[in-house]
Symmetry: C2
Subunit: 415 residues, 2 copies
Amino acid sequence: MENVLGLRCINCNKQLDTKPGIYTCPKCGPKDGILDVEYDYAAINRATTRGLVSNSKDNSIFRYLPFLPVNPGTPRPHLRVGWSPFYKPVGLGRSMGMNDLYIKDDGQNPTASLKDRASVIAVIKAVEENSSTIACSSTGNAASSLAGSAAAMGIKTYIFVPGRAPQGKIAQLLVFGANVISVQGSYEDAFRLSAEAIERWGWYNRNAAINPYLVEGKKTVALEIAEQLNWQAPDWVVLSVGDGCTIAGVWKGFMDLYRAGWIDRLPKVAGVQSTGCSPLVDAFLEDRPWHPAAENTLADSIAVGVPRNPEKALRAVRQSGGTMVAVSDDEILAAMRELGRTSGIFGEPAGVTGLAGLKRLVAQGIVGPDEKVVAIVTGNGLKDVKNAIAAAGEPMKVEPSLGELVLQLEQRGLA
Amino acid sequence: MENVLGLRCINCNKQLDTKPGIYTCPKCGPKDGILDVEYDYAAINRATTRGLVSNSKDNSIFRYLPFLPVNPGTPRPHLRVGWSPFYKPVGLGRSMGMNDLYIKDDGQNPTASLKDRASVIAVIKAVEENSSTIACSSTGNAASSLAGSAAAMGIKTYIFVPGRAPQGKIAQLLVFGANVISVQGSYEDAFRLSAEAIERWGWYNRNAAINPYLVEGKKTVALEIAEQLNWQAPDWVVLSVGDGCTIAGVWKGFMDLYRAGWIDRLPKVAGVQSTGCSPLVDAFLEDRPWHPAAENTLADSIAVGVPRNPEKALRAVRQSGGTMVAVSDDEILAAMRELGRTSGIFGEPAGVTGLAGLKRLVAQGIVGPDEKVVAIVTGNGLKDVKNAIAAAGEPMKVEPSLGELVLQLEQRGLA
């Protein structure tokens, strides 16, 4: 990987060589010693250009291969990950009172969430390290995406999910042939048990906070947003925050483009959590260290009481001059309805939490109506049908008779 | 639309002009008088070429605009419909004993099914005819796709689904803000009630068999397959059959390319139904007219006892020199598992029915192991989680303790 200079510890700032088995800083330990991948931007610019990328027919994250920490020759899963749709839904903008609002729909990925971007990198790194088994813990989406990418490469998986993971995500895992361990406890319990098991059996570790390469996969969503805006950063990028890895990835993507000279300014990044589980929002707003929190939100993907990548997440928001905000579960369900009705896009609860937060930020005057804003929808609503029906109600039930239909429509003032 | 010559009745062969409100042959009636859209292939070839299309950056069905029956200037929904992934999953090929097997994954569409291809055309035609309300009946996927495309354009919808439609599809409809009428009866009951309501209130009719433009949307899956094979038809295209519109669309797509001189041979088309509802397979194999059938299959999208486009479907199979086959629900669930485990692709029951049928055709020696075969996955498995879990089992439940995990893995012979 001549594009990669090495790994740098975000705690002690020490630079390390990339080596198999090195995921965290040996000095600072797995909790604090999170690593960042550092690139040789001159090497990237020798390998590719904006023009070459814009003309690429590779409709996946691999259009950005020189920005990724993988050997170009390593076999990859066949799944088409990334290059997700980028929309300017006029009806949604009107409904939100915004004139330049974009949606990046990452529910349109092979396993229907942004996490595919990280999992495909995990699988490639596992292949590079000759691992035949990968493990991770996840609230659900990282799990199903890992299972999908691994199935495509014929790699075995052990997946730890908290007991509350929605049925859609469980179904994906099972169909992809993963060994699914439903941990009867919180996400933190699932994370801890997976760490112990990985230690014991020596499986490849896909836990995103621990494995520095996964943020590199996630950053591709930022590369795409910049390209889809014709190599320009928006004023704001808004998205939900759980473990903190995705927002860290978004910021890393824009930083890499900026350092490579591909964009000439950086966006502000806004991170949104649910009021039922907002350890990072609270830490940011009160300017204090984060404390563990309860996991009381229906947005299961971001119900993370003990975030594993808090520093990278907070750093992303602070360095960008952005902000954080928490929203209620009711606001999340309302955002799901508003997005669906005005634009035909169906996000899962955590997938639309960014949008719910944006609504608040607009109401507070923090985001202006003419600013160029991108809200990332991080996962598809089909993953969590129960909460979608809670958001949108039940259909009207009618016997097969026109008379009865007329009556029911009239009762609802519809016909 | 200078690319369109007119509409031709498949029953009496009469040619009609395209006019608002004309969906079926006035002489033959709405049941038999299904129309076909006829093109001026010279005009298409003046407007575009294979090279221009191959270099198009439009990653949607509109890369084929001159092959579509819409005015180029009509506003379109923003959703990215089509240009779905085309894979050669080596693990699946090995597992099926096939050396040149491809999957066209149409679960990767905005509302997660192939039906988006038709619904986006329906919405455009409704805009061209100044209709502000569209209606349809559907087993579920046409419904949710119509609701999505219509929401993106701010058009009102009335959607009739049979009571049995799976929760995932219902959730999509509700989130997209459709007026959902759950008809307490069969698909046939839902179809009839929608026809009466459309007649009464004058809504735009999206019922695919009746509306000749929708097959034109569906045909784009064939245009993509040919392009993704570098402007070549495969030996076989295999897919599931319900109403008959999709297989008719696939055949229409290859025929249009052939007539335009873009491909130099045609594929054989194989249509697959469930043994629990196989009126068209039975008619084909016994070479007799079709009879209404019961709807006893878990593959809800193709549980169509009274197919609305039988003639176009049977014509597609016969003209192509293809065949039809029925498979059991158990074979459908087995195909779902096999596809998921070997390739990381998750199809709904009807979405993998084509693959289940292909397995039979290979076993019968009708399809050879070296033939170039494309199986279309018509919808995403997340739409029907209940049946996926029926196919793949339940996760193992473990208390958060390594000791218990070791025990459970040992019991299963896993660690």
